[in-house]
């Protein structure tokens, strides 16, 4: 008899127009001492299942069917029960350590409060218990840090505190909802190790909800794959990842960028836009194609940027060095990767190249002309046309008040004011079809599209001026893995056919490996090393690169 057994669980959301089934007849069981991975793309219902266990389903959602049996007791039968179980028998870890701690209480107060809510302990006992817990999750100087406020901890440390909060009442079931998604790779592996260690030491049953196949491969014992509220497949992790039975699982796994080799294209089994079969780059006949000349298109020389926080004083005390003396070159037609964790200054470099910021010192040369010193707007427009950018967040990068055709036509009209309206319409259609969107899309508003489709619109807009350099700032990190594969394929096709030069920025090493010819690794605004992709992955020279490579979750680890 397994410790937690979910039978035929269904969760409905009654909406204005229809009823949405967030989970349909889901059957899952978890044993003690085992980590069950719950994997799926956004909207698959994986978090819904987690929330259903602790009865945290938001209105208007409700559990319409099924039972959740914890240690032999159906906890759905008596709603009073759940308040006793929550926190005591079931511990929770949330995604964002920034918001899951109360910023105005010290972590000690929060721990003691939680302990005393559930256990009958006096303050001194609760205090010593709390300190021991902090030690257990690996916080140094626990007695001193006990009196610190959440903002005095880094993101990874804060997640450790959250885990200690979840553990403080000796729960037997731990639900971790994307516990490492908001964290950098190096911290992610520490947190996952901690969860693995605690599972063994305390004989916990753990449900790990994530979208990251690498995390699943490295951490979990068994895995359940969900799609649109349905449970697709459940079984031992190794079996599911190596011999998936269902088509969906297979397509999900084939979309994950491999970490150990470079593939030319991602195999797409299920496609978002079903109508198109092959990429048909219609704008090709309009494109003034640049021959690949083996020349440096972009040269970045000793680039630095400081952000001044001081408004009234001129002192440099408050200034932050976001980019510190960075130099690299990008050859025409090449894809150049810029890799680093959050705060490494990679986005700042991108924004300086597209001229959203001016550098504090150093120069950027585009086609042998220094673009950082240009003063006049007219002069700048020539370069604006040739350098375009694709952004990370597909939801904020399109103006929701404009139709798609107005979004795409804006750059065309701006750089070619004399274009006739028929020609403009044709151009827009060609652009949309080149990014695999239908002609009908032109008359719709951005909110009618999914994240992946919005990113396609973004790409169409960036291509409208026929740029030579495309700066992609984490273009797929907000997307599901199958959509990511499609967008990456599209970018590869476009680059090949249009001879685009791409600056690809990402924190995701496997993705960069698939996309780039050369890679630069950044840390805290400084350049660690620049190398050809294969060299960097096979024989990294810098210690930081080595560390990143060993720590990244690898889906291939399941074969070992």
């Amino acid at each position: 008899m397994s410790f937690l057994k979910i039978n035929n669980l269904s969760v409905d959301y009654e909406m204005r127009r229809e009823t949405v089934y967030a989970a349909k007849n889901v059957n899952i069981d978890v044993n003690r001492g085992e980590i069950l991975g719950l994997v799926g793309e956004s909207g698959s219902g994986k978090s819904t299942v987690g929330n259903a266990i602790i009865n945290l389903i938001d209105e208007p959602g409700k559990i319409s069917n099924g039972s959740i049996v914890l240690d032999g007791i159906n906890i759905l039968e008596d709603p009073e029960n759940i308040a006793k179980y929550r926190g005591k028998k079931i511990g929770l870890i949330f995604q964002d350590p920034q918001t899951s701690l109360n910023p105005i209480l010290t972590i000690g107060e929060q721990l003691i409060e939680t302990i005393q809510t559930h256990l009958n302990l006096n303050t001194d006992d609760a205090r010593s218990k709390a300190t021991n817990l902090l030690k257990e999750v690996g916080i140094k100087d626990a007695e001193i840090r006990f009196n610190n406020y959440p903002h005095q901890f880094s993101g990874g440390m804060r997640q450790r505190v959250v885990i200690s909060l979840a553990l403080c009442c000796e729960p037997e079931l731990l639900i971790a909802d994307e516990p490492t998604t908001a964290l950098d790779v190096s911290i992610q592996s520490q947190i996952l190790d901690l969860i693995k260690r605690l599972t063994k030491e305390r004989n916990l049953a753990v449900i790990l909800i994530t979208h990251d196949m690498g995390v699943i491969a490295e951490t979990t014992d068994r895995v359940a794959v969900m799609k649109n509220g349905d449970l697709v497949e459940i079984g031992p992790t190794k079996e599911i990842l190596t011999k998936p039975k269902e088509i969906y699982t297979r397509s999900l796994i084939s979309s994950v960028p491999p970490t150990n080799k470079k593939i030319s294209r991602f195999k797409i089994i299920e496609k978002e836009n079903k109508s198109q079969s092959d990429t048909n780059i219609k704008i090709l006949n309009r494109w003034v194609k640049k021959e690949i000349s083996n020349k440096d298109l972009v040269q970045v020389k000793n680039l630095s940027k400081t952000f001044d926080d001081s408004f009234f004083t001129e002192s440099s005390k408050n200034s932050v060095m976001a980019v510190n003396d960075v130099s690299f070159n990008i050859k025409e037609g090449q894809s150049f990767g810029l890799v680093g964790e959050s705060g490494s200054g990679k986005s700042t470099i991108a924004k300086m190249i597209v001229n959203l910021f001016r550098p504090s010192s150093g120069e950027i040369y585009f086609n042998d002309i220094c673009i950082t010193k240009i003063k006049s707007n007219k002069e700048m427009m020539k370069f604006r046309k040739q350098i375009q950018m694709i952004f990370q967040d597909p939801y904020s990068s399109l103006n929701g008040r404009l139709k798609v055709k107005d979004i795409v036509s804006e750059p065309i009209k701006l750089h070619n004011p004399s274009i006739s309206s028929i020609d403009l319409d044709n151009y827009i259609n060609d652009l949309l079809e080149s990014v695999e969107l239908s002609r009908q899309s032109a008359n719709r508003y951005p909110h009618e599209f999914s994240g992946g489709q919005r990113q396609r619109i973004s790409i169409a807009r960036a291509l409208a001026t026929q740029p030579r350099l495309l700066v992609c700032d984490e273009p797929t990190s907000a997307l599901d893995v199958s959509i990511q594969a499609q967008i990456l394929n599209l970018l590869k096709d476009l680059q090949e056919q249009l001879n685009l030069t791409i600056l690809f920025i990402s924190h995701d090493l496997p993705v960069v490996r698939q996309m780039c010819d050369r890679i630069a690794v950044l840390k805290n605004g400084k350049l660690c090393e620049v190398a050809l992709t294969e060299d960097l992955f096979v024989k990294p020279t810098h210690n930081y690169t080595k560390e990143l490579l060993t720590l990244m979750p690898k889906i291939e680890s399941i074969y070992n």
Binding site: K351, F391, S396, S397, N399, L414
Partner: protein
């Protein structure tokens, strides 16, 4: 979803705003009241039973007739008459037209001024923003009535007495408008600060779109929601300010009375028993302002994505 074949009407019917509108009895009732008031004020020549400003139709014999349902009332004058024999119902309708014109114009004036300043301040930042925002801070410390009185006083000083009555309504619009703009500036600046950091603004900059186009074509439509909400509540405030000023005798002259002027005239007769002369304009003003405020509240709840 394919919205192409849908007409505008269907799209409105399909929208969430319409859905929350028909679900809210308050919104429906206030909208109907306001529609009736706006209609009657706009087509007052057709709707009103009398023209109170046509001296030939007035007779002093009719003066101080109480409302029709009281003992000495006449059916002809439903809400009674004032001291000059003018029909109260018609006077109120004519008066509400003046009040609404002043209110709308004043709010439009402060909207244009405040949003332009707030939008540019938020977008450009730096010293310009600091100057504009400190100016709004100073302006906010001066009560709007005082500000309006000040403007009115200055206007009296520079405009000759004969011209003053004609110019009174414009002075009033300017005075109310100039005292209401800071809140629009603040809200639009705050909203602009949020919007200008979104990627679509960066994308437009990278394309090479000019600052003016970015501000007015891209950012402005995205910050209209909160502005619309405080604009509606500001409208009620402007109408009340107008009435207060007119009540104090610095608003529109008695020859073209607004609601505030009517209340002031009626106030003189209150103690001699002719209560209706001041009561009905006052009650009308309350209903008008209350309805606008309730509609504004509903709009705030509906348009605020955080509350949904």
């Amino acid at each position: 979803m394919d919205n192409q074949g849908l007409t505008l009407l269907n799209r409105i019917k399909d929208s969430d705003i319409y859905f929350s509108f028909i679900k809210s009895p308050t919104a429906i009732v206030t909208a109907i009241i306001l529609l009736i008031i706006f209609f009657c004020s706009f087509f007052v020549e057709i709707v009103a039973p009398f023209n109170p400003f046509d001296p030939s139709s007035l007779s002093l014999m009719d003066a101080f007739t109480p409302p029709s349902w009281s003992e000495d009332g006449v059916t002809k004058f439903f809400l009674g008459t004032d001291g000059q024999g003018r029909d109260m119902l018609s006077t109120i309708l004519y008066g509400s037209r003046i009040s609404l014109i002043v209110g709308f114009s004043a709010i439009l004036f402060s909207l244009v001024l405040g949003v332009t300043l707030g939008l540019t301040a938020g977008y450009f930042g730096g010293k310009y923003e600091m100057v504009v925002m400190r100016f709004t801070d100073v302006q906010l410390t001066v009560p709007s009535i005082l500000m309006a009185l000040l403007v009115d006083g200055i206007a009296r000083g520079i405009i000759s007495k004969e011209l003053h009555n004609e110019m009174a309504i414009y002075v009033l619009i300017f005075a109310i408008g100039i005292s209401e703009w800071p809140q629009f500036a603040r809200v639009s600046r705050a909203a602009t600060l949020v919007e200008k950091n979104k990627d679509y603004v960066s994308a437009s900059t990278i394309i090479g779109v000019s600052n003016i186009t970015i501000m007015f074509k891209h950012i402005l439509p995205n910050i209209l929601r909160p502005i619309l909400v405080i604009g509606t509540i500001g409208l009620a405030l402007a109408i009340i300010t107008e009435s207060t000023l007119s009540f104090l005798g610095v608003g529109v002259p008695p020859t073209t009375p607004s609601l505030g002027t009517l209340i002031r005239i009626g106030n003189d007769f209150l103690f001699s028993g002719e209560w209706w002369i001041t009561f009905f304009p006052a009650i009308f003003l309350v209903i008008l302002a209350f309805s606008i405020n309730l509609l504004g509240d509903w709009m705030r709840d509906t348009l605020n994505p955080k509350l949904n």
